[in-house]
Amino acid sequence: MQRETGSVRVLIVDDEAPARALLREYVAAHDDLVVVAECANGFEAVRAISEQAPDLVLLDVQMPKLDGFEVLELVEHPPCVVFVTAFDEYAVRAFEVHAVDYVLKPVGRERFDRALASARDRLRTPSGGAPRAEALAAAARPPGRHLARILVKDGADVHVIQVARLDWIEAQDDYVAFHAEGRTYLKSQALADLVATLDPARFVRIHRSYVINLDRLARLVLEAKDQRVVVLKDGKTLPVSRAGNARLRELM
């Protein structure tokens, strides 16, 4: 991804101004690096990565709105990433998404330069370590916990939907449609992959193409022999398969 000029384009993402200033200073000491933008939160970072296509992102983890892992999940072509954080507990997840390095605050210049050297190596052998989408999605979710919110990219915008606000979910070809509070959000994902990350005590797959939030269930109706439908609290009716019926019975 290196440009003709030969310089590495760097994006700095941290919600603390002094932390950004420090990284800027360290980067400035290298002639072949140029800072293309600085972002103070996850939303800005997603936008900047899409628009600027930086070669290298220096990424904080804990930020308002979207954390560093969620940012990576949302960008189409994840760039080379060096995590910079005060928390050492994210290191394993960082390497799962093929981060080049994981630098702890307070950041020393030598340690930073070592991370840069690794990044240069990685950039010289492109496509060497592009993480797969599944790894990114899994890393965006802390281990042992169910998905707490759904991130849907809409152009340069990002919708953040708390799973508690979801009414029902529908499979549409290669997409998943999330229905929440009267609105629909489309995301490119397989329903089965999504179901695996949801809390099974709250979300039930009632049909090959439908998942409902149990909190929204009003009643289960037998329409004909072996043909059931669920009625949600907002009146929406959805078909229930035989296997879906068994899963529903188990939870009710």
């Binding site: 002094p18 939303f43 709105k65 005060a86 307070p106």
Partner: protein, 356 residues
């Protein structure tokens, strides 16, 4: 079951005591009426054994009648009644036993002799039961004292543990790491600001150690510590963290357990204001109304951000501490409404440590 019967050694010792009593009784009866020692033993032995167990019933009499519960006269009458009843039952049993021995085995004195003996047994039975009541009261009082002491010790240990936990979680290493990172950044751009930050951090650490070593501190000092903490966070987060403090001088004079407000303020920044794009204001209020002190810490939060790991840890800590340090007289209220997170502490207002 009577606790005395729970251990074999205790039963043996108790029976030994009653063997002594039985021997004395035998000696007494031999002198009272002319009869051989073995004959007297046959009569007294079983009776003593039975009465040994009858006397244990004093435990339930003592348990259901606390000294100081009813008037002393009523209690006295009640206990005397219990002793009379036991002595009477014993004498009736003895009469039957004496008659049986006389008719079946031909041992024992004549009718008048038996009556005299029964009179003596009645008095002794009464005295023995009364003695048992007194012993039981003593043991119960001793046990109560020991239990109180143990409870006191336990609550002291719990308070100390809570204290230690509080101090241990007080200084979150991440806070230090991030602050050091900020200092490192400022050194390059604004040496004077870096110096100020070092000063702030040093002051904060020194004050929190000093406050933590005291059992109670004036609220004013605790609030000053919280403000130092916020000043450091303001360097890190810039205008995103704003602070507003309103506290009455009367409230600031009140004594509170140390490091009670600081974790609340830390929570307000870490899990509240810092999670919002636009930041927000951490509001601290303290006021005294009569005998009660109210401390309130509130902050806006982003409802779209699911709680991060660690939320509530600091709060639980504060709750546990006020529960152990001020049992029954303090409470903590947490509310989350309209994007505002609010913690309210209510503590007894006191200005000197004597009332503690």
């Amino acid at each position: 079951m009577h606790p005395l019967l729970a251990g074999r050694l205790r039963v043996v010792l108790y029976l030994l005591l009653w063997t002594g009593i039985g021997a004395l009784l035998t000696a007494l009866l031999v002198r009272l009426e002319p009869r051989s020692v073995p004959h007297a033993l046959v009569f007294v032995g079983p009776l003593t054994l039975v009465y040994a167990f009858v006397c244990l019933s004093a435990l339930w009499v003592c348990r259901s009648n606390h000294v100081g519960g009813a008037s002393p006269w009523r209690l006295g009458a009640l206990l005397a009644g219990a002793a009379l009843q036991s002595a009477t039952a014993w004498v009736v049993l003895a009469a039957g036993w004496a008659a049986l021995l006389r008719v079946q085995a031909g041992i024992g004195p004549d009718r008048d002799g038996i009556l005299r003996e029964l009179g003596v047994l009645f008095v002794i039975g009464f005295v023995l039961y009364a003695q048992s009541i007194v012993s039981h009261y003593l043991v119960l009082a001793f046990e109560a004292a020991r239990a109180t002491e143990r409870r006191l010790l336990e609550s002291r240990v719990a308070a100390r543990e809570a204290e230690l936990r509080a101090l241990r979680t007080q200084l979150h290493p991440h806070f230090l790491f991030n602050s050091l990172n900020s200092i490192s950044a400022l050194v390059g751009s604004d040496a004077e600001a870096a110096r100020r930050m070092c000063q702030l951090l040093g002051d904060f650490l020194r004050t929190s150690l000093a406050l933590g070593a005291r059992p109670l501190v004036p609220l004013g000092e605790e609030l000053a510590l919280a403000e130092r903490y916020l000043a450091i966070e303001q360097v890190r987060f810039g205008p995103r963290v704003a602070v507003e403090r309103r506290s009455d001088p009367e409230a600031e004079r009140c004594l509170v357990p140390p490091l009670l407000v600081q974790p609340l303020v830390e929570n307000a920044v870490k899990h509240g204001v810092a999670g919002r794009l636009e930041g927000g204001t951490v509001r601290i209020r303290a006021r005294r109304s009569g005998a009660s002190l109210e401390i309130l810490v509130e902050n806006p939060f982003d409802p779209d951000t699911p709680p991060r790991a660690g939320v509530g840890l600091g709060l639980d800590n504060v709750r546990r501490r006020i529960e152990t340090l001020e049992p029954g007289s303090a409470d903590m209220d947490v509310s989350r409404a309209d994007g505002v997170f609010r913690v309210t502490l209510r503590l007894p207002a006191r200005e000197s440590a004597d009332a503690a």
